[in-house]
Amino acid sequence: MDGSLPVEDTWTVAGRRFRSRLIVGTGKYKDLEETAAAIEASGAEIVTVAVRRVNLSDPKAPMLQDFVDPKKITYLPNTAGCHTANEAVRTLRLAREAGGWNLVKLEVLGPPPLLYPDMRGTFEAAEALIKDGFEVMVYCADDPLAAKRLEEMGCVAIMPLGAPIGSGLGVQNPAMLTMMMEHVSVPFLVDAGVGTASDAAIAMELGCDAVLLNSAIALAKDPIRMARAMKLAVEAGRLAHLAGRMPRRMGADPSSPLTGLIR
């Protein structure tokens, strides 16, 4: 026993087992080389990807798959930018055709500047996607009833926000996330809001199964170094969760013995 993570400390989503509890996005990087290097440094085994129109004026432009091998890293197609259930469902059907996999991240967003989860659209899209055979990891509000309902519908992971997408405000709702978690039995992730390593550690300390983030790495001054920081923070947070934190107390409790003091 050296206190390191037990080798069997894995988590499973939709029957797929992963060691890394950090899922990273692939957006906002300087270029595809930096994207690949950051993923490598983060240790992530799952990356989110977007589905967009091919640029017909430059069909030979390098593609993400040329830099991040979908055979080695699980691509999790998202519906970023979709504001209606129909757009989200169409996008993921295209993603399934492009990649050949069913595991997806659903997000139906409200308008800027908050891009807050639109739960009515989210429910509608989740229902259609599950019926169509998708395994849906769902971005949602920190709403315990919504989370329960999404789980009952068949979503394979519940992923509430810690703060608005790309805000970097950190986990603003730790108490609510803790309360939600108690009622969810599928994997529970914080998705959105993480700004720096301590935020990721907090999410893991709360007991989340994993953390999903993008901007915190991509917009750091040194994304590769931040990717490594996130990897360590997620591991540290996980270890702290498993270790069980000390109780909080209102007042001091000296760590040194009170006996044997010189007089």
Binding site: V49, V51, R53, V54, L94, E97
Partner: protein, 100 residues
Amino acid sequence: MSLRPTAKMRNAGRGAACLPDPPRKSIIRGMQTVLTVTVNGESRALDGPVSVSGLLVSLGLDTRKVAVERNEEIVPRSRYAETWLATGDALEIVHFIGGG
């Protein structure tokens, strides 16, 4: 009145054992068929007859890395060669890019 099926009729047969219909003509200029379709939001005139495969080749795209939607319905990769385009078709050709 022509007996040739419309694009709508052909679409209605998709999913069943629908025949790879020989292409139908929209406008005939001499011996050449010209189709007007929308690809990723842009109107394009194509020399027909042309299938989804033909279109992807002419656009220089790697079929293994893209997905195609025609009139809001997925075109499975296995059916690119037999899916003939008709005037008025709206196509979306997408791929994976970086995203969070």
